[in-house]
Amino acid sequence: MSATTAERVADYPPHPGTFVEEGYSLKSWLLTTDHKRIAILYLLAITFFFFLGGAAAVIFRLELMTPQADLVSNETYNKLFTIHGVIMVWFFLIPSIPAVLGNFLVPLMIGARDLAFPKLNLASWYIYMFSAALTIASIVLGGVDTGWTFYTPYSSMFSNSHVMLAVIGIFINGFSSILTGLNFIVTIHRMRAPGLTWSRLPLFIWSMYATSIVFVLATPVLAITLTMVGIERVFHIGIFDPSIGGDPLLFQHLFWFYSHPAVYIMILPAMGVVSELISCFSRRRPFGYSFIALSSVAIAVLGFLVWGHHLFVSGQSMYGGLVFSLLSYLVAIPSAIKVFNWTATLHRGSIAWDTPMLYALGFIGLFTIGGLTGLLLAALGIDVHVHDTYFVIAHFHYIMVGGAVMAYLGGIHYWWPKMSGKLYPEWWGRFSALIIFVGFNLTFFPQFILGYLGMPRRYHEYPPEFQIYHVMSTAGASILAVGYVLPLCYLLWSLKYGKPAGSNPWQATGLEWQTHSPPKTHNFDVTPVVTDEAYTYVEGKEQFVG
């Protein structure tokens, strides 16, 4: 994106220092309304939760090395996978890209000084932390054993664990999501720099916009559903309990009306990040810009219409199954369009094998596998067999971990010089990207086979014939764990010892690269004016008018 910076003088005098230099006291961080500082607060919190959720996974993967129960009891096992799911879904994946990268970058990329509602932004962080505290409390007090899906009547009438606390935690967490989404929608609609029309927006902004719509429209349904579970648990009224007139399938419909779109909350931002990376590291405008942009919106809309594919074997009517299967196939099309366009962007590009690009290329491969196995699951005849087996586990980990986490890490590496002002050691970056790719595939590919063989999910013990694939998976998980610890180490190292990054180390377009690294408090010395489409790369120049 090119910008002429002289045309318009900012209404506020430029801040002298970077946003980090604004203050070093704890108070200056905890009471900040600067979107960049709030992004850092989120970064710290979700990094903690990523490793906490990962630790739970390491323990139960070790348990699954053998068919018998030897490391943990069945109750502990059930609590571990519940904690893993709850934390990874609500406290890592959903806020990861939007709350960290989105918060940091949305105003920078559209040439704004901050989000539309900075105080609300800080409030969302506090709401997130409060909900996290409640969820941690439910773990410390003894844990929850319902699975992250909280299916009734188990969660409402039968579980003896701390369901209420966890449910309240997730309920409150929802408000954090809603406020973040609301803030982004308003910011993107109302605060774009002069000349930055919708057709000139970076694709990351398009994806954040689509994500925000899902935040605002899906999250309240989860809130009311969990409220009803809570009421049922406390007052023993059969809202979902069939023994007194309720319908447990209603819970599943309501839950998945949120939780399926939530999958798109996780993957849409990842697609946005990857579009940025592919463009920057092949030095060209993404092939089919408008198709990538509009397919994000199409995914957000269609994503609301496919929840019933989680209920193919639940006793939902056969016609319901048919309709939801058809719609599930339709939602695959916009994803396919994106993959084809990314691949076409590489053709005759100038491709740099920097760390973020390795993550982006890994993302395309793994996301494609995840998406294609989604087609297998949408095929009704196959789903009846593999529903609730490891096939499903493998499928959604290819989307969430192979997709969302890879893109998140790629994005963190790409914008790290902008956020910290420092370069990380490139060799270590490439090395750990490779480790993660190998470890990931070794962990989750065997699970496809396990699933088709019939291994049900959430099993503490299993028949011995499944063991070989479990051993492979656990071996992969240990490699993956190393791969995730490495970036934590060298990125922290780079804060002190890394070389200064300069304002635009990747020679990228985009307004975020047209300001200091790290940016100053109000982002730009003068408000940029945009005069051209996004991703205009031109020989010998970073900026170009024409």
Partner: protein
């Protein structure tokens, strides 16, 4: 909007941008609210379809008179809220304060009437949970499903009441500021936004009233 006393927050370029941003924010928030109540109304519709007799029976235990009265009260409050916004647009301070107080009073009236209804439900043993004491005398009506109706009834009207309370608190806050002359014809966004919220809460009731009170034939 030249003569306004509005504070321009530094992330915005000008007051027009700020105003359009906060208005859009409010609409986005209301979209969230629609889906929040939407989930409840969907649940209601599912169970109404599953247990038509019990829902009709339970609905008949509610007072249509009080419900209608409350609907009228709430519609009047919407009118006075609209008049308050209108007054604010013209910078008519006294009129603004007057209509804000009228709106609050009507809101409080609604909650008082609702409170009486709830009290009657409590006395009659229709409050779900351990206190629920309704015993069916006809095999067509299963008491547990009557309880289910009342559970939905209390959640729906309770959440609506909570929204009313928040609305009244907001109006109180606005009234204090308005009487101190904080708003002007160029600076009345808080009044306008609270107005949007208030109308939304009214509309929710317009849906709840027929769903809860008017099902089946009351003459029968």
């Amino acid at each position: 909007m030249a003569d306004s006393g509005a504070v321009l927050h530094e992330q915005f370029d000008d007051l027009a941008q700020q105003h359009s941003a906060v208005t859009l924010g409010m609409w986005a928030f209301l979209a969230t609210e629609v889906l929040f109540f939407g989930g409840l109304i969907l649940s209601y519709v599912v169970y109404r379809h599953a247990y038509p007799h019990e829902f009709q029976f339970a609905s008949h235990q509610l007072s249509v008179k009080l419900g209608t009265l409350n609907t009228a009260v709430l519609l009047c409050s919407s009118l006075s809220m609209a008049l308050a916004v209108h007054a604010a647009q013209f910078g008519a301070r006294k009129r603004l304060v007057f209509f804000l107080i009228v709106t609050m009073a009507l809101g409080a009236t609604f909650l008082t009437i609702k409170g009486f209804e709830w009290r009657t439900d409590w006395v009659d043993g229709f409050v779900p949970g351990s206190h629920f004491s309704f015993v069916s005398h006809t095999p067509r009506v299963d008491a547990r499903k009557v309880e289910l109706f009342f559970c939905l009834y209390f959640v729906m009207t309770g959440l609506h009441g909570l929204h009313m309370l928040i609305g009244i608190a907001l109006l109180g806050f606005l009234t204090v500021h308005a009487s101190r002359g904080k708003y002007s014809s160029g600076n009345f966004a808080p009044i306008e936004l609270t107005g949007l919220y208030w109308h939304f809460v009214d509309i929710v009731w317009i849906f709840l009233f027929p769903l809860l009170y008017l099902i089946g034939n009351h003459a029968a």
